[in-house]
């Protein structure tokens, strides 16, 4: 018993060599913990990146909280969530998303102001590389993650053709800061069967299972606390009743304080549930420690 505990603690110390040093929270360089994506994971606005949330380094713990509002012509999407980072290695996140159909709800036969919602519980593990310090190597920071979605209004989701109201996304993300060029680039492959991020359930009458989708982001550092860029995120098209489009955004992320940042974006989510051209303003406020 004692021996196995000793073995275990030795194994843990070996896995986290930082533990031999003083534990200490905070200390990450500005913006290198990313901002909060709509799914709650550290990333850009739409994409999950390989960066780990929070201000901590390999020696500590950190966390972030966000509130996001996306104003579209016919819908509103709000998201709020928290994320915790451990030793710049592991990230745990939670987000709640709410999708208000406003007037369009009546036209869709759901009733005016009908809202969809979902919980997203995420975990991310940094596998290799360092996006920030390894400037002499092309090797990006690579992380894998899982996001478990629990969507509300299951009967309605089934009625529109979704197969499930809960499902997991799996993704692998690679992020690199190209400091000499002042650039940040990210590529993510996500295995998902989510309809409209999961708000319309998972799988559909057209396709049931997961497919590989891509999230790409590229940003330019305009100052140490200011990043502007573009993001593109492809999505499956599982439901027969409405075509689902890819989404993109043009964003500016501004760390106006060591512990707070604001992301503003022009976002195009395409057609949603037969309602055309949902383009609008994305605003996200984040605090981090």
């Amino acid at each position: 018993m004692f021996k196995s505990a000793l073995l275990l603690s030795t194994a843990i110390v070996a896995a986290f060599p930082a533990m031999a040093h003083e534990r200490r929270d905070g200390g990450k360089l500005l913006l290198t913990g990313g901002v909060s994506s709509v799914d709650g994971a550290a990333g850009g606005g739409l994409a999950s990146w390989a960066l780990i949330a929070g201000d901590e380094t390999e020696d500590g713990r950190g966390g972030s909280a966000h509130a996001t509002y996306v104003a579209l012509p016919d819908f509103d999407l709000t998201s709020a969530g928290v994320a915790a980072g451990f030793s710049n290695r592991v990230e745990i996140s939670y987000a709640y998303q709410r999708f208000d159909t406003r007037k369009a709800g009546a036209a869709l036969g759901l009733g005016r102001g009908f809202t969809f919602g979902q919980h997203v519980i995420g975990a991310k593990l940094r596998l290799a590389g360092d996006a920030v310090w390894d400037q002499d190597r092309l090797m990006p920071q690579v992380a894998v993650g899982v996001q478990y979605h629990i969507a509300e209004k299951a009967p309605v989701l089934r009625a529109v053709g979704a197969r499930e109201s809960e499902s997991a996304d799996f993704y692998i993300a690679a992020t690199k800061i190209l400091l000499a060029q002042g650039m940040v680039v990210n590529g993510t492959v996500r295995f998902t069967n989510a309809n409209q991020f999961g708000l319309l359930g998972f799988g559909g009458d057209r396709h049931r299972g997961r497919s590989a989708q891509f999230e790409g982001s590229a940003g330019k550092l305009l100052a140490a606390n200011l990043l502007a860029g573009v993001e593109y995120r492809t999505k499956p098209d599982n439901l027969g009743f409405a075509q689902e489009d890819d989404s993109y955004d043009l964003f500016v992320a501004w760390a106006f304080h060591r512990h707070a940042s604001l992301t503003a974006a022009y976002v195009d989510l395409g057609d949603i549930a037969t309602v055309k051209r949902q383009r609008g303003l994305f605003l996200s406020l984040q605090g981090s420690l």
Partner: protein
Amino acid sequence: MSFVPIILLLMTQAATPPGEQPVAPYPHHNANAGATPFADARMWQAFHESAGVGRIVDDLVATNIADPRISDIFKGQDMVRLRRTLKEQFCYLLNGGCDYSGRAMAAAHADMGIQDADMAALVENLQAAMRREHVSFAAQNRLLAKLAPMRRTIVKQRDLDRRRPGG
């Protein structure tokens, strides 16, 4: 075998510059600077040549020793030597025509227990010093990209105490 070359080597190193404390002998080499210089002259100009680099290093060292996050690490160290060798290192890397006469990064930072957060603090202080010197953001980032990989030989550098018990 003759001891003359060794004695000569020790003699050249014994000439401690004024105001500095002597250090244990070490092999001199530009490779100690920890990175290769930029090929063109533009970076040296972007940093306003020796006057600019001088101001940046003086500012950086002054900021570091006043910064509660990292000031302890600098206590009791030779700041006269640090300023001189840092100026040489920056001048060498920025292709300003200097040689670097200091120690290798691993040797200079061993056993200090420097952590990621200290490295980030120093980078922030350097960014502030470069901003105050009005170095363009693009040129700042090109220098930082050269310095960033040195994290591997600076943070938690403990090569020299690996053989110590409990080290």
